[in-house]
């Protein structure tokens, strides 16, 4: 992809419509450059995000997944982000037990005003995932179980 032939990870971001999506919009409006590795999928609310989608993303070849919504107390729908947080607390243990690398799953709160934070978070995750390399381990599990 580029001159140094470094590994470019694929990152899928599941974000809510009212805070993080708008935060990413703001990063654009402010022309804050960040790595082009992230693909955003918009949801109305993090409360809608079924965590099977995390597994699905890895299945589709993602090297890292980001889930991001409104800060606690700021949810457009009052409490969806609390549901997401609680679900994540349970789900991460399950994923851990299953042998999925939790370092490849990221959970953040980014508000509509935090364009800079969005750019930083994406840059950080991209950098970290580059160092970890492609998530071949998962693809091997998936292939073996298929």
């Amino acid at each position: 992809m580029n001159e140094t032939n470094r590994f470019e990870p694929r990152i899928i971001a599941y974000v809510c419509n009212w805070c993080t999506y708008l935060g990413a919009d703001l990063a654009g409006t402010n022309r804050l450059e960040y790595p082009a590795n992230v693909r955003i999928i918009r949801f109305p609310c993090t409360g809608r995000i079924d965590f099977n989608l995390i597994v699905k993303a890895f299945e589709a070849g993602a090297d890292a997944v980001l889930v991001s919504g409104c800060h606690p107390g700021d949810c457009h729908y009052t409490a969806g982000n609390y549901h997401a947080r609680r679900r994540w607390m349970l789900f991460r243990q399950l994923l851990d037990t299953l042998g999925i690398d939790l370092n490849r799953i990221h959970f953040t709160w980014i508000s509509a005003a935090e364009g800079r934070k969005w750019a930083q978070v994406v840059t950080g995750i991209t950098e970290q995932t580059r160092q970890m390399g492609p998530y071949t381990a998962y693809r091997e599990i998936a292939r073996a179980s298929a």
Partner: protein, 668 residues
């Protein structure tokens, strides 16, 4: 077979500078299901939209992807364009290749690759979009206002004057709220009752207002446009129709020593009473805990004997009345922080060091209002409670409870700076030679003519202000010894005072949480009700059709409460201006075939929009229980979708199928 049109926008140079538009257009044309792929400099312009409309018709498109800016910017624009050309507007998706791509990725190759991914996802999504029709909800053009203080009165009158019926529910025997008990108001020093009581009379006589005093909201069913509210009318023991309000009953009542709620415990009332002479309605109520007849079941009955209208009814009982309303306005107001007695909340602690409740001459601000009021227990003479003497030195302490994390309330009560200045003025005007001392943290006098008012109290009327806190109040030889600090002088201050007035924090009224839960309105950590958006939707709540105004939302003064009340009335009237309500159709649906009626969704839904439903055969035989989404209530957050263990919940526009196909489209 899908026939998708993809329209890629240059956005002038904004997208085109970093994304290879030609390459995108050509590559997209090869994607499965794509019928046409074109690009244009400005898709949102009239000629751009015209191309979209033409292609929808000439290519008989079944879906539209516009690859341009954020959907927050132009989704509505393109949906409208689709609708004009006869395509259902919910078959339109946007790929955000500007904010999320060209503006943030300046490597042309990478940005182009990402733009293609974003479009590919949108194409997969739009293929699985359903035609949707906005949900139409019938509308009852009647409003319910809860709380008959100045905010509730204002809101009710505005709506009633616009020609709609209003039911106004007030917990106390009379409307008027806290304002009816105030002496004079800042910054004009006009008499509170003189400006409020004519409005109260207007409410009482308005043909469009139905007044429920001594009543509370028992339960709320329904949703925006169609609320059904059950109101508990507490037993008054007086027939409101027969009673003429002559006063023979309360004049004859022998039970005299009941602390008057209206006078904040500074005066007494009878067991049968009207709270104050200008009460609306001017009809008495019997205090069932004070009346000997009601307590014992026999005896006394003097009021009944004296009443020529035969209006006394000792057998009266609470009544439940049902009201229909399309909108609800909450205006339940405030109460004062209880500074010494037991706190209702474990996070709060009182001000034992100020001796409130122990020293009779330490009173709170509302009690002082009653002492100064011409209609108060002393007829407006400032006499101290312990011995009736006129205090020659009064200490006013601000921020008691407010702005005090140690006591549990971090917020500023906002009005205390102003009313304390007013108190010092009223005191100085009535007590020549009297000394008014004020301990303050900051003087917050933002508002029209507010700071000038405070300056007048200090400079013309000679109130002495000390920037600092009071650590302790003790009583010695009939004097209250107030020990505090003057931090500007850097010295301790001790004042021998005859009376101390505490400007205590405002808190939301009792019972507001139970009410908020009935209405599904949120509240903050201090119990103040939450608005939908602090800047742009200040009187709306997250419960559609429920509005808030006045001090139930946050501490505020009369002008602000009134302005907010008119705003809430305005929002209600905007709603009532329509024939029926329409709502976005991107809401949840339950597949009743697979639903196992576990009701996890019912418990998780933040809007109580999912109901327990029963499926019956045409003959009425039970088939099964399921969950069912109430279209009038669902806001489309999708929490139920993620919660449902049997995958029976779906969210239109964000279905499982759509998301999965989007993710899969990224697979390399």
């Amino acid at each position: 077979m899908a026939r998708i049109g993809v329209f890629t926008c240059w956005c002038g140079e904004n997208v085109a500078r970093h994304v290879d538009i030609e390459k995108v257009t050509e590559t997209v044309a090869q994607m499965p299901g794509v019928r046409c792929s074109i690009n244009y400099k400005y898709m949102c312009s009239d000629p751009g939209q015209a191309q979209i409309r033409d292609k929808i018709q000439s290519e008989r498109l079944t879906g539209l992807v516009v690859a341009s800016c954020s959907p927050h910017m132009h989704l509505k624009t393109f949906r409208k364009a689709a609708q004009t050309a006869g395509l259902n507007p919910y078959l339109v998706e946007m790929a955000n290749i500007r904010e999320h791509c060209s503006w943030v990725h300046h490597n042309r190759e990478e940005a182009t690759a990402k733009a293609l991914d974003l479009i590919r996802m949108s194409v997969e999504k739009v293929k699985r979009d359903h035609e949707l029709v906005p949900i139409r909800v019938p509308l009852t053009r009647r409003a319910l206002v809860i709380g008959g203080g100045v905010a509730g009165i204002q809101a009710a009158l505005d709506i009633a004057d616009a020609g709609h019926e209003v039911a106004l529910v007030e917990r106390e025997p009379s409307i008027g709220g806290k304002m009816a008990g105030l002496s004079e108001t800042f910054p004009t020093l006009d008499c509170s009752q003189c400006i409020l009581t004519p409005r109260m009379v207007e409410v009482g006589q308005h043909p469009n207002i139905k007044l429920y005093t001594y009543s509370e909201v028992e339960s709320v069913e329904g949703y925006v446009g169609n609320f059904k509210i059950t109101i508990r009318q507490k037993a008054r023991y007086v027939d409101m129709v027969k009673c003429t309000g002559c006063g023979d009953c309360w004049n004859s009542c022998p039970i005299k020593k009941n602390l008057s709620e209206f006078d904040c415990g500074m005066g007494f009332r009878k067991a049968i009473y009207i709270p104050f002479p200008q009460a609306v309605p001017a009809r008495p109520v019997i205090d069932r805990l004070a009346c000997t007849r009601l307590k014992r079941g026999t005896g006394c009955g003097l009021c009944e004997k004296k009443c020529q209208a035969k209006a006394i009814n000792f057998a009266d009982e609470d009544k439940l009345v049902v009201e229909q309303a399309g909108a609800v306005i909450v205006a339940t107001g405030y109460k004062l922080y209880n500074i010494a007695k037991e706190q209702d909340n474990a996070q709060l602690s009182g001000y034992g060091e100020y001796g409130y409740g122990k020293y009779k001459d330490v009173i709170d601000a509302l009690q002082f209002e009653r002492l100064v009021s011409a209609s108060g227990p002393t007829g407006g003479e400032i006499k101290r409670p312990s011995d009736g003497k006129i205090p020659q030195s009064v200490v006013f302490i601000k921020c008691v409870g407010s702005r005090d994390n140690a006591k549990g309330l971090a917020y500023c009560s906002k009005i205390c700076c102003m009313y304390t200045a007013k108190h010092t003025m009223l005191y100085k005007h009535k007590t020549p030679g009297g000394e008014a001392h004020v301990f303050y943290m900051d003087i917050r006098a933002g508002g029209k003519a507010y700071d000038e008012f405070v300056r007048r109290a200090i400079e013309q009327d000679g109130a002495k202000y000390y920037r600092g806190r009071v650590s302790k109040i003790t009583e010695e030889n009939g004097k209250l010894i107030v020990r505090g600090a003057d931090t500007l002088a850097g010295a301790p201050v001790t004042i021998e005072a005859d009376m101390v007035v505490l400007a205590v924090a405002m808190r939301p009224a009792d019972g507001v949480h139970a009410l908020a839960q009935k209405l599904n309105v949120g509240y903050d950590e201090f119990g103040f009700l939450s608005e939908s958006h602090p800047k742009l939707r200040p009187v709306e709540t997250n419960a559609a059709g429920v509005f808030i105004c006045g001090a139930c939302h946050a501490p505020k003064d009369i002008p602000e409460a009134v302005a907010q009340a008119s705003a809430a009335a305005g929002k209600t009237l905007v709603m009532f201006g329509r024939e029926e309500l329409t709502r976005e159709p991107e809401i949840a649906r339950i597949n009743e075939q697979t639903c196992a009626a576990c009701y996890t969704c019912v418990r998780g839904c933040p809007y109580t929009a999912i109901e327990r439903a029963e499926t019956l055969t045409p003959k009425g035989v039970h088939v099964k229980y399921t969950a069912r989404v109430n279209e009038g209530l669902c806001m489309g957050c999708g929490t139920c979708v993620a919660l449902c263990p049997s995958k029976s919940a779906e969210l239109e526009g964000f279905t499982e199928q759509q998301i999965y196909s989007m993710v899969e489209s990224l697979m390399t």
